[in-house]
Amino acid sequence: MRKQNAYSLTVFSPSGKLVQIEHALAAVAGGTTSLGIKASNGIVIAAEKKTSSILIDDSVIDRVAVICPNIGIVYSGMGPDFRVLVTKARKSAQAYWKIYGTYPPTRVLTQEIATVMQQATQSGGVRPYGVSLLVAGWDSHRGPTLYQVDPSGSFWAWKASAIGKNMVNAKTFLEKRYNDDISLEDAIHTALLTLKEGFEGQMTEKTIEIGVITVPTPEELEAESPDGITGRVKPTFRKLTEEEVRDYLSL
């Protein structure tokens, strides 16, 4: 009787590369661009909402996803793989909450997602996830942090990064325009300019999605002291509405 799923499909090549992961990265590089910029008082993540046909109802597409009140993710690559990872990330955040009573710090959640992605490169019968993720979150220990996770499962923290089709140009653009004390408003503006660089077609509030992390003020932190299990933290991550995106675009 043949043992099911016994052998990994991702194996080393003689040159020491995991070719499947290289191919996964190629899938990511073919996906629509997304980027993230860390500001002094927040983070902005944004993505193009490019559809293959004008007949597609793009109001249903979700490039930027909320994981828990303090963490949001954007991706480039295969949409269905992203969907699966978002579900796992949400469950992981709730599991953490059930044990510790607070939402996971960004790094902890990023590590959990990265572990899931790595397991797909070393398990029998599965393929790597064809997405790269940009995880933006706020926690009281490190403040706002932006991480990129690749199909291999490796992750790094970035001040600003872009992934997907136009990432090379976008990163060069960001390198020129980024400085350590950029404000959130400037960061949103820069993000829009960067997206515009490689945008094919009209950039409107319907063809881009923006998510924003705002750092809570000291008063807000005081107000939500752990006085009990009643009430949860005020969300620090939210997706901008179409009206808000339109306002930023018109600037």
């Binding site: 909320v66 994981i67 828990c68 579900t87 949400r90 469950k91 992981s92 709730q94 599991a95 953490y96 909450w97 059930k98 044990i99 397991q119 398990s123 599965v126 220990h141 009990g228 299990i229 009643t230 009430g231 949860r232």
Partner: protein
């Protein structure tokens, strides 16, 4: 693929029953579960729901907590009062609260009260009454305000005014004579306060303070200790004993810390979180 280890195996663990029964027969008193005794109420008014609860937690005849919180968070616009075994109500509401948040994220919709009710009743029925949680669930969602009671075995009722707990009869008496449809906010809050007060004063299992929570379509207001009818009186005298009240024969003072210098090595006590 390895399973996530954050989930512990589900269900009750009955493996200690034989041992516990043996010990009990030998004379060991079984530990009593902390019961909230309790008076909890909910009532519908013009703009939404008012929930109310007392704040006494009992362990048999002893008051375990004089100011516990019995109105639990389910979602921003949905709250749940819990009577019965304190641990059961705490954990059940926390579990359903977590699952509601997951459900809201996945569906992209604001959570509904009936969803929480269904999750709670299905869980309680599964445990056949062993989870001793009697709940008053109320909230406002996109379909309007809703108020439910959920019993430990899993049955539910949908009503405009409800009471649960050992003080429920006292509280219901107040509701039956005072409740009207379409009350104003102040009227409803006063009615709830009166109902809880009836439980506090007439039931031994309930006591201390009144908590209330007002939920409307636009806001949820948590009124912790909105009424405190049982504040302890200030003691009339000072009961400090002056030094010398107790005579002593010998006195020896030793200083254990002669000299101390702290030299941090590397990053000292700081954790390495790099």
């Amino acid at each position: 693929m390895s399973k996530s280890s954050v989930y512990s195996s589900p269900g009750f663990d009955f493996s200690n029953i034989v041992r516990n029964n043996f010990l009990h027969e030998k004379g060991l008193p079984l530990p009593k579960a902390t019961s909230t005794g309790t008076t909890i109420v909910g009532c519908l008014f013009k703009d939404g729901i008012v929930l109310g609860a007392d704040t006494r937690a009992t362990e048999g005849p002893i008051v375990a907590d004089k100011n516990c919180e019995k109105i639990h968070y389910i979602t921003e616009s949905i709250r749940c009062c819990g009577a019965g075994t304190a641990a059961d109500t705490e954990f059940t509401t926390a579990l359903i609260s977590s699952n509601m948040e997951l459900h809201a994220l996945q569906s992209g919709r604001k959570p509904r009260v009936v969803t929480a009710m269904t999750m709670l009743k299905q869980m309680l029925f599964r445990y056949q009454g062993h989870v001793g949680a009697a709940l008053v669930l109320g909230g406002v969602d996109s379909t309007g305000p809703h108020l439910f009671t959920i019993h430990p075995h899993g049955s539910t009722d949908k009503l405009p005014y409800v009471t649960m707990g050992s003080g429920s009869l006292a509280a219901m008496a107040v509701f039956e004579s005072g409740w009207q449809p379409n009350m104003e906010r102040e009227q409803a809050l006063n009615l709830v306060k009166a109902a809880i007060a009836a439980g506090i004063f007439n039931d031994l299992g309930s006591g201390s303070n009144v908590d209330a929570c007002i939920i409307t379509a636009n806001s949820t207001e948590m009124l912790r200790n909105v009424e405190m009818p049982n504040v302890r009186v200030q003691k009339e005298r000072d009961y400090k004993f002056r030094r010398g009240t107790t005579a002593w024969k010998k006195e020896e003072i030793r200083s254990l810390v002669v000299e101390e210098t702290v030299t941090p090595i590397g990053r000292g006590d700081e954790m390495d979180t790099s």
